[in-house]
């Protein structure tokens, strides 16, 4: 199936190319639009105007969340193919030789742009934002083989966005976590702080080439953007649209969490993603415990785990209490100093 998705660049008020938005009438046919009501459409309307989506746009709709019933996945990779096709326009296109990075032993070039490497589909890469993991084993005395579509979890309080030093990674009010390719320096801090190390780097592209290409930055980080441009047009993300088994559903987080629990109860299954890293907008339901799946799946670079993930931002935010107390401490100190001075003056007066 070929999916066409023409793009144009809209400028944001800060002079950056902000959105890659599809023109009407060029995307694939629409189905299951009923999942996407006011929230998405409102957010999409603002986004299509080329403006950062305002928080108020989310007032009418909660963050979008996907629910994956992984019992249904047959590893046909239709979602992987569709993802690559619709997002091809967003993929990096390095021009010329890769810069000589300094220091060479610390800064490795990550180049996935060769024809051969672009085709890699068994892990996450800058050209492959979704892949299928497979877990095999025994549970309750029965053999299982389960396939799990893996991509960015779109965390509710995404550390990649909250800790990006340049603001290149950001969270839209509809819950989509994106990395802006024109702003990202490729330092991979987002990958470092992500509990699943999802974003993947392509060297030889991006803003850093115009600044200090050898000494700061190293390309651009790429990951699933939940087909934000398709959502802005009221369409489904490509991976959901093409899935012949209807593995994924998308809707408000409250609704998806409710459905996930109902499904888990019905099949005696398990939920992953609801509470991981403080809560994500990708929820998996499996008939087999995720600890078992995690033991079985291949993990490593570009191959995220399925283990429990503590809330990365929680410990950081606990320390922010110091900042809340600080002004009070300052005022208290000044009052104590004033009282001490008054006493001294009183003593002199006597």
């Amino acid at each position: 199936m070929v999916i066409n998705c023409r793009v144009n660049n809209a400028m944001d008020p800060f002079g950056f190319h902000f959105n890659f938005l599809p023109e009407k009438g060029n995307a694939m046919s629409i189905s299951r639009r009923s999942f996407l009501k006011a929230g998405v459409i409102t957010a999409g309307a603002v986004a299509s105007a080329g403006l950062p989506v305002k928080a108020s746009a989310a007032d009418k709709g909660e963050a979008l969340c996907t629910l994956l019933d992984i019992r249904k996945c047959i590893a046909c990779e239709a979602c992987v193919e569709a993802c690559r096709e619709v997002n091809e326009e967003k993929f990096p296109e390095p021009k010329g030789a890769m810069p000589e990075m300094v220091p060479r032993d610390r800064v490795k070039i990550a180049d996935w742009s060769s024809e051969e490497k672009r085709e890699v589909s068994d892990r996450l890469t800058p050209y492959n934002w979704l892949y299928i993991q497979t877990a095999e084993g025994q549970y309750n005395g029965e053999d299982f083989e389960i396939h799990i579509p893996r991509r960015c979890m779109h965390c509710q309080n995404a550390p990649c966005s909250k800790l990006c030093p340049f603001g290149a990674a950001f969270i839209e009010p509809n819950g989509i976590v994106r990395i802006h390719p024109d702003v990202c320096m490729g330092g991979a801090k987002c990958k470092n702080v992500c509990p699943w190390h999802i974003p993947e780097r392509q060297s030889g592209v991006g803003l850093h080439l115009d600044l200090l290409p050898q000494y700061a930055g190293n390309g651009v980080m790429y990951k699933c953007d939940r087909c934000y441009n398709r959502l802005a047009e009221g369409e489904l993300p490509a991976c959901i649209e093409v899935c012949p088994e209807e593995v994924q559903q998308i809707g408000s987080r409250t609704e998806m969490v409710k459905k996930a629990h109902a499904l888990a109860k019905e099949i005696g299954g398990f939920v992953y993603g609801e509470k991981e890293n403080g809560g994500t907008n990708t929820i998996y339901v499996s008939p087999v415990p995720f600890e078992l799946l995690n033991q079985s799946i291949e993990k490593g670079p570009g191959k995220p785990h399925l283990a429990a993930a503590a809330d990365v931002m929680a410990s950081t935010n606990n320390w922010a209490a110091a900042l809340a107390v600080a002004p009070v401490a300052g005022i208290a100190g000044a009052l104590l100093q004033a009282r001490s001075m008054a006493r001294k003056l009183d003593g002199k007066g006597r």
């Binding site: 950062p52 610390r106 603001g167 801090k189 935010n317």
Partner: protein, 152 residues
């Protein structure tokens, strides 16, 4: 005439907090792992982004507390001591850095989202103000210019 009290422990607390805040501020960019700073003895924590942020918060909190304290005591004693030109410049830049820093810390809380334009603007305002504050502080150090002078 300059108002100067080198013996005051608050001066040293302020200096330590400024150095720590600037050091961890730069450490919020992926630099220390790349340029071996995290390999130095006692500085391994600086290569850890999350540890860096926490230390940055503590240094920032010390500066906010001191800022509020001096703001109040300054206006109370305004008739006797006034800010020098270098003092005014540094106070302005420090205030900008701290205020934008507080907004950035607020942004890290769950449920708080900034549109990308605002997020970038705050990032660059915070970084820019901090760098200019660092330069102004170095200038004041070289010129031996104090913060306060006795009022005429």
């Amino acid at each position: 005439m300059r108002y100067h009290d080198e013996r005051s422990p608050s001066r040293w607390i302020y200096r330590a907090a400024v150095v720590l805040a600037l050091f961890t501020g730069f450490g919020n960019m992926p630099l220390y792992g790349r340029y071996y700073i995290g390999d130095l003895p006692l500085l391994a924590w600086s290569g850890d982004f999350l540890a860096n942020v926490k230390v940055h918060y503590v240094a920032g909190a010390i500066l906010v507390a001191m800022g509020v304290y001096y703001l109040i005591t300054y206006f109370r004693g305004y008739a006797r001591r006034q800010l020098t030109a270098m003092g005014r410049l540094r106070a302005l830049l420090l205030a900008l850095t701290l205020l934008s820093g507080l907004v950035m810390a607020l942004k890290n809380l769950p449920g708080v989202f900034f549109p990308m334009g605002l997020l970038m603007s705050m990032n660059f305002l915070h970084m820019g103000a901090a760098v200019f504050f660092m330069l102004a502080s170095l200038g004041a150090l070289v010129l031996r210019a104090g913060w306060l002078r006795w009022a005429r």
